[in-house]
Amino acid sequence: MNSAIRRLAVAAIILMLALMANSTYLQAFRANDLNGRNDNRRVRDAQFSVDRGAILVGSTPVAQSKPSNDRFEFQRSYPDQIATAYAPVTGFYSYLYGRAGVELTYNSELNGSDPSLAFRRVVDVLTNRRQQGASVSLTLNAAAQLAAYSGLSGKKGAVVAIEPKTGKVLALASRPSYNPNDLASHDLDKVGATWKKLNEDKTKPLSNRAIKELYPPGSTFKLVTAAAALSSGKYNPDSKVRSPAFLELPQTTVGLVNEDRKNCGGSDNATLTVALRYSCNTAFGTIGLDLGADALREQAEKFGFGERQLPELGAAASRFPADPNAPQTAQSAIGQFDVQATPLQMAMVSAGIANGGDVMKPYLVQNVKTADLKTVSETKPESLHQAVSPEVASKLTQMMVDVVENGTGKAGRINGVQVAGKTGTAQTSPERPPFAWFTAFAPANDPQVAVAVMIEDANVPRTDIAGGTLAAPIAKKVMEAVLGQ
């Protein structure tokens, strides 16, 4: 009997060892995984009670945590007058609905749990100080951001401005917007009601039009087509391009017409410069047919199409259609058919041309610093692609300056500063108003800022909608803000 009892004793020890092994796996190895879950109330409550770092523009906080006298020790707050302007960037910090924007992607830095802050945390524990999160400095230019936001007043649309040399995002605005304070409130019933209202709102205030929504870029895409044409070596700015009033397309009975239903600037064979100046559809359709879809797509991808940018905010990837036939290629060459771009992408096209053809990787976070101002990380400018050669870039710049000085982009002119730009008006369906676009950079000889403006809806008569009249004035204000004018 005793040998059987001994075996049972061993079996009992094995059972207990299994419990210990499983607990070890759970509490030592699986713990991080479980603590990272969104539905983990303990972690959420604890994080909600942390002195979270600020999100800064210059030295001004656009998001900060203030002590609060309720069950959570801190209240996340966004300065009232500018909260809605910065909402697409800061995102929100909600107990019930999680986080968005920089609040989401820089969460571990902001709440101090990031591995890079481990040393700081140990010091806090040893000195018996409360854990403090790191602050995140944005690359945004406050004046440009507010100019962009107020420029969009009363409209649906978005603005993105970039510093061409570095890729720093200077402005990123989307309207209509929302007030993140309403979602960060500790009054959870109110938060729930706000969330429901925002989600049911037909104007989609929660959608980030600057980077997450895709729109037909219309004529602004002609910059890409022109870049492909110049890069091919077959064209230069003075090359004559067939540009009749009506361009027949192969395999189909429909064709392309110019906006004014006439030929291009009085000629059936306008130069490339003139074609861009008046944004002639038939001329760029001709180029598209000549170069073919693959050349266009390659050029678009060099400007960043097909890639997601700004991991901070998770931008959508712009796209050029996969396998268009000849007429579809012609339409794609003028930014119609299935070409889809974000305002960020079109700003990158201008910025790339402005920077001698070198498209810089856009970024939004300049640095992360601990509560005692030690830098944890600093973003360095990084080249994304050489989209065109410096020669081609300089030719494109001249053509874009011509657009603003003599062509469709006159509304983008700034006193004493040479502006290079391109307008766009994109049709989608007859039922909805076209999208008005303008993308530009300035000054043309030493670019400090590149900008793209997209107006989805402005409550104006359909005939009044054109990139030049609607979008260019906003771009102008943003560029002026950056240039300090």
Partner: protein
């Protein structure tokens, strides 16, 4: 006795009561320390109830100790301190969750539920009284052998009790409670005790026929079909418990205990094989037939598919505790509500004391089981051996089933964590079980009277000489 007696371990007869007292003082100090710590962390003051608590745990433990000195001086010195430590920590954690639930209720503007810790201290007192009764009244565990069939009958009645209409109540989907005169208790906890007595007594009588008759098959000695009777009955009863009372844990416990004792009595692994197959068959049948079994298995495979589920919540609590724990009073065990002090109390410990505390607690349980089995090894009579084995293994199975369920090792089945979980019946029954183990160990470790006519060893030597 058989030749197997030669392997009986020799225990040098020393009473070791002084060691027990030392260990007891440590156990009480740790428990009271935990209680005070919780008060200091949660309320910034030493709890006003500390005196009541310290007296409850400390005095009761000392009374139990004195009873052992008086009536069972050679009893195992480790069992009582282990039980006191677990009981004391359990009450402290119940108090901790009380405080958490109160704060949560106040925050939500609800009327807080009355505290459960004082109840548990009262039940501890009842448990110690029963402990004293067992130690003082049962002077020799062998007398229980006479009650074999009475105990069996009592066990069955207790098992069936919750099914009696008007008496049994459904709580959380399991019908294992009886409500009588405003008090509710779980008869299954005492059925466990009665059934172990019955199994042990029955097997003492039947072990020869179960051991000797049978055929060899595939290298295993298999019993005869008609000798399968008792195992089939045990299987049937435990299946009945599962089906009618939806109590997976008890079902596993009863069947497991019977099988272990059968194995110890006969030393034939064939029984384990047959039992294992029967258990697998029963489990498969239950899984394919009953929704609540399927749900338990599904919740085990993916605890997070159940929104707001207890297991997922407990897992997150344990993860939150990590290796070193949040610290007593600094976790959020009240998130599990009432379960944080009853079925899931072990998860509350894991959250606040971390993996370190969890392993320490499991080790204390392991100590109880192994000291119990050591008592069985040292015991001189077969009935005592079987009884001690059954009682010790009941702790092992129970701890494995509930802790394994809470930590996600096996599907969750509702069993109380011995000595710790909130609940009077379980606590009282466990104190009775420890008392019995101590009673047997006193017998096992007591110096053999020189007047004994023939010792087992003499017989063994005589047999060897032949």
């Amino acid at each position: 006795m058989s030749i197997a007696s030669t392997s009986m371990i020799q225990i040098i007869p020393r009473s070791r009561r002084g060691v027990e007292l030392m260990l007891l003082i440590i156990a009480i100090a740790v428990s009271v320390g935990a209680y005070v710590n919780i008060g200091l962390t949660v309320q910034d003051k030493v709890p006003a109830s500390t005196g009541y608590y310290a007296a409850g745990i400390g005095l009761l433990a000392l009374i139990a100790h004195l009873a052992l000195r008086y009536r069972a001086p050679y009893a195992d010195p480790v069992l009582l301190p282990c039980a006191v430590l677990l009981n004391g920590l359990g009450v402290a954690m119940i108090h901790r969750v009380d405080l958490g639930l109160q704060a949560a209720a106040e925050a939500a503007g609800r009327e807080p539920r009355g505290p459960a810790a004082p109840q548990q201290i009262t039940w501890t007192a009842v448990g110690i009284i029963l402990f004293l009764v067992v130690i003082l009244v049962i002077r020799d565990h062998r007398r229980l052998q006479a009650l074999t069939y009475t105990a069996g009958l009592a066990g069955l009645v207790l098992l069936i009790l919750p099914l009696v209409p008007g008496l049994g109540v459904d709580i959380n989907g399991a019908r294992i409670w009886v409500r009588l005169a405003g008090m509710s208790f779980q008869p299954g906890e005492f059925a466990k005790l009665c059934l172990v007595v019955f199994f042990a007594g029955y097997l003492v009588v039947k072990r020869d026929v179960l051991t000797l008759a049978g055929h060899r098959f595939l290298g295993l000695d298999l019993p005869r079909a008609r000798d399968l009777g008792p195992i089939l009955i045990a299987w049937g009863v435990s299946l009945g418990v599962l089906i009618f009372e939806k109590d997976l844990g008890s079902s596993l416990l009863f069947f497991g205990l019977f099988l272990f004792l059968l194995y110890v009595a006969t030393e034939r692994a064939g029984w384990l094989l047959i039992g294992g197959l029967l258990f697998a068959g029963g489990a498969l049948f239950a899984y394919s037939t009953f929704g609540h079994v399927q749900k338990r298995v599904a919740d085990w495979q993916d605890p997070f598919q159940e929104v707001g589920g207890q297991v997922s919540n407990a897992l997150m609590g344990q993860a939150w505790g990590g290796v070193l724990g949040r610290g007593l009073g600094q976790g959020r065990p009240e998130i599990l509500g009432f379960y944080g002090q009853s079925d899931f109390i072990i998860s509350s410990f894991a959250e606040e004391l971390g993996l370190t505390g969890m392993i320490a607690i499991i080790l204390v349980f392991t100590l109880i089981v192994e000291r119990g089995l050591r008592t069985a090894l040292g015991c001189r009579d077969i009935f005592g051996k079987l009884l001690a084995t059954g009682l010790a293994m009941s702790f092992a199975v129970q701890v494995f089933v509930i802790v394994g369920g809470v930590t996600g090792l096996i599907p969750l089945t509702g069993l109380a964590t011995p000595f710790m979980a909130l609940g009077g019946t379980s606590l009282v029954a466990n104190w009775a079980i420890v008392a019995l183990l101590l009673r047997i160990s006193d017998q096992a470790r007591r110096p053999q009277t020189p007047a004994a006519p023939v010792s087992d060893d003499t017989i063994a030597m005589a047999v060897q000489k032949q």
